[in-house]
């Protein structure tokens, strides 16, 4: 309700002005008061089932769930009375009565709401000495989802996500009371494009990710803000990596998972499964040394070899996976050396009305801003970025991240860094310039495309060093011209 009426409420003595109809739990946040919650998630329809967020509202006889109560003007709310603190402890105790205390082998450990809240609000001794409930464990829900009903606290975030966000409705609550569990409806599997979000939504370790399970303790992960390259939306992500040999027993795996990063203007809280699970190309099947006619070579050898193309007709096929900075750098380099330029893109794919867009490249918009278009010619030499699919050329120089069939036939293949190994910006389909940060060092001898450009400039005997920040500014100038067109 943008532009709605503003109302004043008092939360724990702090006055705050919010839009009328705002849920109390959000309004309190604006007043700087965090109300503990388990079932509430701002991206889902509130359900009010966990009872953790009960607060006292002046004039009301009973405490009310802050996640389901819209604010009214003049509301006076208390969130931290002794009775409420006691209530929260009791809710935690209730949950922990049947929750298996298998934290040491639980993937969620370290990012488990139950652990955090117990530490923060409860810390009481156990009073429950009965048998734990036996429920389905290790249930495959489809794709990468594994469900453990014993760990489940029945907050129903997963059910609500599938009911209201993807609208695919695969899950329901089965049985009743303490026997309740979340289950697949008959004949269903969770095969929608957003299934991985259930792992993020689950506040405990009830839904874990087969792709990540038992591979890494979460507290050993470094988290780098980045942007997903797999379509033109550019969902905001975090890349979770570990390169510490003491804690990473997988010698070759550096990236362990991709998580969404909230951005209300781009991807809100979610990412699609393609974006989540396609990270393996960062560590696997990489080209780590330059190849000349299929044989490994040094960068010095590459520099010498590059001199062979001086004076010949060159077409550079830039790619819509290059950053704004790299594109403008190479464009300028091409202009200096009178090269022809064109653009390569991943072909369009499927789209939906949630996040996925048809353009499967992160930076088509950036390339368009710079006037780059698809096409080709029959120039003698081709310099090709990322996609081994140009037209007829006598000499082919490729700049690639990953190995591909037939690369031995190329005159030169130069190893490029992946997006996780460099920093830069992409311009998404909305025209939003988004920064991705460097999570890892470039693998082997791979280099970011700007530095590879520098090698070309050196070979041609011109002074044109790769300065990313400068290129960033140059790009923004172009963008201003473009948006004012």
């Amino acid at each position: 309700m943008p532009g709605g009426k503003r109302v004043k409420i008092i939360v724990d003595g702090r006055e705050v002005e919010v839009e009328q109809g705002t849920l109390l739990i959000k309004a309190a946040e604006e007043a700087g008061v965090y109300i503990p919650r388990l079932c509430y998630h701002e991206g889902l329809r509130p359900d009010g089932n966990c009872r953790m967020c009960l607060v006292e509202v002046e004039g009301l006889r009973k405490p009310v769930p802050a996640c389901m109560t819209p604010v009214r003007d003049g509301m006076v709310v208390k969130t931290n009375t002794p009775a409420l603190k006691e209530h929260r402890r009791k809710v935690l105790e209730f949950i922990l009565t049947t929750h298996p205390m298998d934290c040491p082998i639980c993937d969620q450990a370290g990012e488990c709401v139950l652990q955090d809240y117990y530490f923060q609000y409860d810390l009481e001794d156990r009073r429950y000495f009965e048998d734990r409930e036996r429920k389905p464990k290790k249930v495959h829900w489809g794709k990468n989802l594994i469900y453990d009903a014993e760990r489940c606290i029945l907050c129903r975030r997963c059910v609500r996500f599938l009911d209201h966000v993807t609208k695919t409705g695969e899950l329901g609550v089965f049985e009743r009371g303490i026997q309740s569990y979340i289950g697949l409806f008959d004949g269903k599997k969770i095969e929608n494009n957003y299934s991985g979000n259930l792992v993020d939504l689950c506040p405990v370790g009830a839904i874990t990710d087969l792709d990540f399970r038992f591979k890494m303790r979460v507290w050993f992960l470094d988290r780098t803000p980045s942007v997903c390259p797999l379509c033109a939306r550019g969902c905001n992500i975090e890349i979770h990596t570990n390169t510490d040999p003491l804690t990473n027993r997988f010698s070759s795996q550096r990236v362990f998972r991709i998580k969404p990063r909230k951005n209300m203007d781009v991807n809100r809280w979610w990412i699609c499964d393609e974006g989540r699970y396609s990270y393996k190309f960062i560590d696997q099947n990489r080209i780590t040394r330059p190849l000349i006619k299929g044989k490994e070579a040094s960068w010095d050898a590459v520099s010498r070899k590059l001199r062979e193309i001086i004076g010949r007709e060159v077409r550079v096929y830039l790619s819509a996976w290059m950053s704004n900075e790299e594109l403008i750098y190479w464009k300028k380099l091409g202009e200096l050396l009178q090269w022809k330029l064109s653009l390569l893109r991943r072909p369009d794919g499927d789209q939906d009305d949630l996040l996925r867009v048809a353009d499967k490249n992160p930076n088509t918009t950036g390339a368009r801003i710079l006037g780059l278009e698809e096409g080709g010619g029959n120039e003698e030499v081709a310099v090709v970025f990322h996609f081994p699919s140009p037209g007829e050329h006598k000499m082919k120089i490729g700049i690639f991240t990953n190995a591909f069939e037939g690369m031995e036939d190329w005159d030169m293949v130069l190893p490029a860094a992946t997006f996780a190994e460099k920093e830069g910006h992409w311009t998404n389909f909305q025209g939003r310039v988004q920064k991705f940060q460097q999570a890892l060092e470039p693998l082997g001898e791979s280099l970011e495309e700007g530095k590879i450009g520098e090698k070309f400039a050196e070979a041609f005997g011109i002074e044109f060093p790769w300065k990313r920040e400068e290129m960033e500014k140059e790009f923004l100038k172009e963008m201003k011209k473009w948006s004012g067109r």
Binding site: N49, L54, P63, F94, E130, L154, G177
Partner: protein
Amino acid sequence: MSLVITPWFGKVRIEDYMEAGGYRGAKKALSMAPEEVIEEVKKSNLRGRGGAGFPTGLKWSFVPRDSSRPKYLCINADEGEPGTFKDKYILRDAPHLLIEGAIIASWAVGINTAFVYIRGEYGKIALILEKAIEEAYARGFLGKDIFGTGFSLDLFVHRGAGAYVCGEETALIESLEGKRGQPRIRPPFPATYGLYGCPTVVNNVETLANLPAIMEKGGEWFASLGVEKSGGTKLFAVSGHVKKPGLYELPMGASLKSLIYDYAGGIRENRRLKGVIPGGSSSPILKPEEIEVALDYDSMMKAGTMLGSGAVIVLDETACMAKVLQVITRFYAHESCGQCTPCRQGTSWMAKIAHRIISGRGREGDLDLLKDIARSMMGKTICPLADAAAMPVIAICEKYREELEEHIREKKCPVERE
């Protein structure tokens, strides 16, 4: 003594029902303005017989008069509170009394579609009701243009699938919509947002069965049968250790002691009374010295218990209170829908402790633990099922503490039985 409902029992066929004066109340109601009908019901001091005792006329007046969306009547025949069997008698022995009541309520609120949500266990009774509905359609008392007034009403029977919680009005609505039977968070209340999101009245069977008499003889007459704030009579389902268990209709405000001793014949085999659960399993138990109490909503509340559904469960000296505790806690653990944390976990935890006590594995401090669990559930959940589970536990643990402690200490039942 004037009785309102039981005199109609046995008049199952519509001919018999009409010969005794049936459908006169509905006819009269339809000759009045809907507002006048509501006014008459308000005057009658009729309060909801499902257990909560909310004034019926007032409940109706919350429904918006002019609604662009259809309005619905949901008749709660999901009689599930342990000990309760009053609606069963009405449905089986005087189904037209309910149908007539439904016509009156629907006319008053402006409803053209009504549903009877009947518990699945009442399978044969549902058939009797469906037959009665057929008869009413055949006579033009249901369907289009009832009594030539232009008013139309369709009445459908919907069978429940065996969940106590579906007797809670919002869970009933969810279930009727074909969803999982679990209560909704209120507000919004059914009066504005009920079945399919439309204004809805949910009334108990017994409540509606009172309406024909109120229409025919007037609200004031009905009110005069009872006490100040509770009009009419009440059906009491007496079960347990009495000589004559069964259904009794008494005026509101009658004495509980008199119901047990004068009507139900007193305690069987002249044993001593141990306790009375006066209003269904969720009402706090009364000790023998507490039963001189008037049977109406307010007096019972004052006595620390509730009139509830009017299910009076009588326990004599052979009753083991640990067993009573076990039976009651097990019921609520089984029937909790599992939505709210305190109820889902608490009901089960209490049941496990009670089971342990009865199995001779009770622990010192279990009674305090039980009370603490019960108190942690009360007032903290979406619907009153948690309170219903907690109240009897607290009362039993407090009033029969010595016996229960002995049971825990001695690891066996201290109650002597032949």
